[in-house]
Assembly symmetry: C2
Homo-oligomer: 351 residues x 2
Amino acid sequence: MSVTARVPQDEVSREAAGLPSPYLLFLGDTVEPGYAKTAFGLRDWVGERCVGEFVLPGGRVSTGLPALAPAQAAAEGARGLVIGVANAGGIIPSNWIAGLVEALEAGLDIVSGMHARLGDIPELKAAAERTGRRLIDVRTPPTGIPVGVGKPRLGRRILTVGTDCALGKKYAALAITRGLKARGLDVDFRATGQTGIMIAGAGVPIDAVVSDFVAGAAEMLSPAAASSHIDVIEGQGSLLHPAYGAVSLGLLHGSQPDSFVVCHEPGRTEILGHPGFAIPSIEAVISATLALGQVTSPDIRCAGISLNTGKLTPEAAEAEIAAVAARLGLPVADPLRGGAAFERLLDSCLA
Amino acid sequence: MSVTARVPQDEVSREAAGLPSPYLLFLGDTVEPGYAKTAFGLRDWVGERCVGEFVLPGGRVSTGLPALAPAQAAAEGARGLVIGVANAGGIIPSNWIAGLVEALEAGLDIVSGMHARLGDIPELKAAAERTGRRLIDVRTPPTGIPVGVGKPRLGRRILTVGTDCALGKKYAALAITRGLKARGLDVDFRATGQTGIMIAGAGVPIDAVVSDFVAGAAEMLSPAAASSHIDVIEGQGSLLHPAYGAVSLGLLHGSQPDSFVVCHEPGRTEILGHPGFAIPSIEAVISATLALGQVTSPDIRCAGISLNTGKLTPEAAEAEIAAVAARLGLPVADPLRGGAAFERLLDSCLA
């Protein structure tokens, strides 16, 4: 993470802890809810720190929070505007800039998890300097990441993996963390994406790491710990994704997970943003994760399946969960619905 | 590639074509031949452009070229010193710096394929400015790399993959390129590593690309072409390597190869630089490459095996080639030994 420049790793946590909340969630002119993961994640997991949302003309995605212009949000106590949407490629479109400048002029810092650096946009840089506000890039990885070593290390690790992007790997990891904490266990959520880092206050933006160092970054993120300690690591992408498989594989190898949970959204048939690419089967993801995960975690196993049933009725969700469990012979749950199925998934994570 | 700064992609070929040869090959104080891939590659494929080698005290690796101090090399016509060794992590050790400054003072430019940027080392930066020489970083990727799209594209592509790093993927790709050209076909070697780029005069240093963009970089490297055109793409790392699997997977997905050749070194039992990690079987690499490669190349197939038998006698090499061919039922050859076995491997690449 950086404030217009790269900072050493030991400053990452400090800065994240100091992110300027309460937040105003910026949704741009986005029309695809799947790209608004950051806004929804902040609303759902740290909603008490979100005062409202700011949507540009043409935008058709809403978090349900009050619509506020930057000046209104500042009057309500907001200290930072968070860019709550991510485009493929992480570019900040030119038609967003006036709105972002408006936020700086209203006294808000800007927090971004996109690939593009805020400070590289001349209008934003100038406005930040003029107003004395900060441009905070959560997605800039720490410097000095080593290459992976792959050596076995102490502590237990659980990784969420998926059949696609943006279908619940972060939510599953957060819910598993909360569920295990509720059992009195020593658990950390390890964030690998911009939203997770904003929620957790620390982490490594794994998809922004140079490919040679992805496994090393994952090793750094979940270091050796007491044998009773559990890290629940936020997965990224999918091994079977045409664009982001590299991120997923480096994270898998570096995380050395004892177990993994496959995240899937019933009813999604094509890879998000890649029309014509069928979603792989859960079985194919399990098979690939086992085959590749054994490189650094010889006894790796699938603890179960996390289904994102947000678009289903409770009855349909229950039927889908039962059907997938019967098909695979593994614990299956929607962590956001909780219940006995989710407790069985947690049991399996601990087995 | 950059001359102390990032440059746009369209300048890469121009600059590479203008690399300052003849070269003096710098071997530092390296004691592990496996790390001197660059020096050996330049000697073997563009030996006519290498005047000699420069080894520091303690070094125990030699290319067999004449030992020359920088001033002697300059007197023999050298224009550039090429750093011919790569450490894990790509760091330039402090005990190399005096020798590199000596080269600049002798009138040589420095060409590096390491992760560390030459211009980031104050002593080198100052010496380059003082002497008017250039610091050329071949490993800096072009700017503006897109994320992968994965869509089918015209042209034929062959990718070399491997059971480990540094065992012949570049040599195999160069030899296959040469063999197919000898048959009158329209073939390009596509370089993905520092040495390959120095040899080819163009390419993308794939392991230096941010992980989210590796597949996109591979798509850019081997663009759509006439259906009779063949790109032979230099592989990197191994899907089953504990540190570099991410690089290999992004390259596989982005390359969309019609076929691949698995490169292996008989007798190597452990992953280079990762003691305790057994070399995966050729079968495991074929299986992982097929399973993951199908994401973007549904009809991907293994064309055969390239064995690096450099440490074997001709008789032992022939026996090993025959044994692996019988075991796998695929064409097997050592491209550097050529012969009928290699012609059968080329036939299979074209099948």
